[in-house]
Amino acid sequence: MRTSTPPISDPRSSILLNTTAEDHHVARMAAVALMLTVLENAIPSPLPGVKPGLANIVTLIVLARYGWRVAAWVTLLRVVAGSLLFGSFLAPGFFLSLAGAVLSLLALAVARHLPAHWFGPVSHSIHAAFAHIAGQLAVVYLWLIPHSGIAYLIPVFAAAALVFGTVNGLIAARFMDNDGKQEMEPQP
């Protein structure tokens, strides 16, 4: 990633990665998302797969403030780093979250072009939530459990996506209350 800001370097480090301020910002956002993922894993779930998806709040805010590319970085970093944290890297659970994340990012890429006067973060969030569950169910059906019995669970997952999508969208909108009113604070 290249921006006009000069690279930040650490003279003590022998291996020097040229990181920009934007990289640091992406990493910081991904860390916040990661924290929410950890928090969410502490919440017991009645059905595997039905989770609030709190980390998507971060994705929504980043999408609204910094655009789709940064949102994609933050989300994919969160998925990979989260799987390393829980020890599920390259395990089925990792591919489930990856499929969900990729599909919801694609949905967001389309949904963010909806007229902003009419459609806000709540709409974005609902679209992303439905895409997320569609991606996960596709992986489950095509790879893990190729049995049409899982069709019975689709309404449960869809209802959860609708509810949690709406709630996450509202939370994201709440966090962005002041976005239009003041100058965006300069990012260090």
């Binding site: 009419w118 309404p155 869809a158 209802a159 996506a161 509202l170 709440r174």
Partner: protein, 126 residues
């Protein structure tokens, strides 16, 4: 909901939410309401031979006056896959997957009927 929360929902968001609700309801109707069968009743000689769930794939051999017929259950569907009767009508009927559907083999006195929460038809006449 507090007015502060409602302020964050733009007009189009209501539309998205209603469409989402509609989607969930339609999917639930389609998946749960009898459209999909969950059991197969196999009758032989007028009596219930076996009642099996569709959830597990299996093959069942049913003896009849002409010989043995084979009923296959696969991916929540059922069919008579092999039958000794001369015209093979029931075999050619293929997969049954909705509640109320039935395959009958008269010569071998065998029938396979699917049931669910609700039957799509009360009766079928040919």
């Amino acid at each position: 909901m507090r007015p502060a929360t409602l302020r964050h929902i733009r007009p189009g968001d209501w539309l998205t939410m209603s469409l989402g609700c509609l989607c969930v309801i339609l999917i639930a109707q389609c998946v749960w309401n009898g459209g999909m069968a969950d059991r197969a009743i196999i009758r032989s000689g007028g009596k219930v031979f076996r009642e099996v769930p569709l959830a597990r794939d299996q093959q069942i051999e049913v003896p009849g006056p002409l010989g043995t017929s084979i009923v296959s259950i696969e991916k929540r569907r059922a069919r008579i896959s092999s039958d000794p009767s001369p015209r093979q009508y029931c075999v050619r009927q293929g997969w049954l997957q909705h509640a109320g559907e039935i395959a009958i083999c008269l010569p071998n006195e065998l029938s396979v009927e699917l049931t669910g929460n609700r039957k799509k038809y009360d009766s079928l006449n040919y």
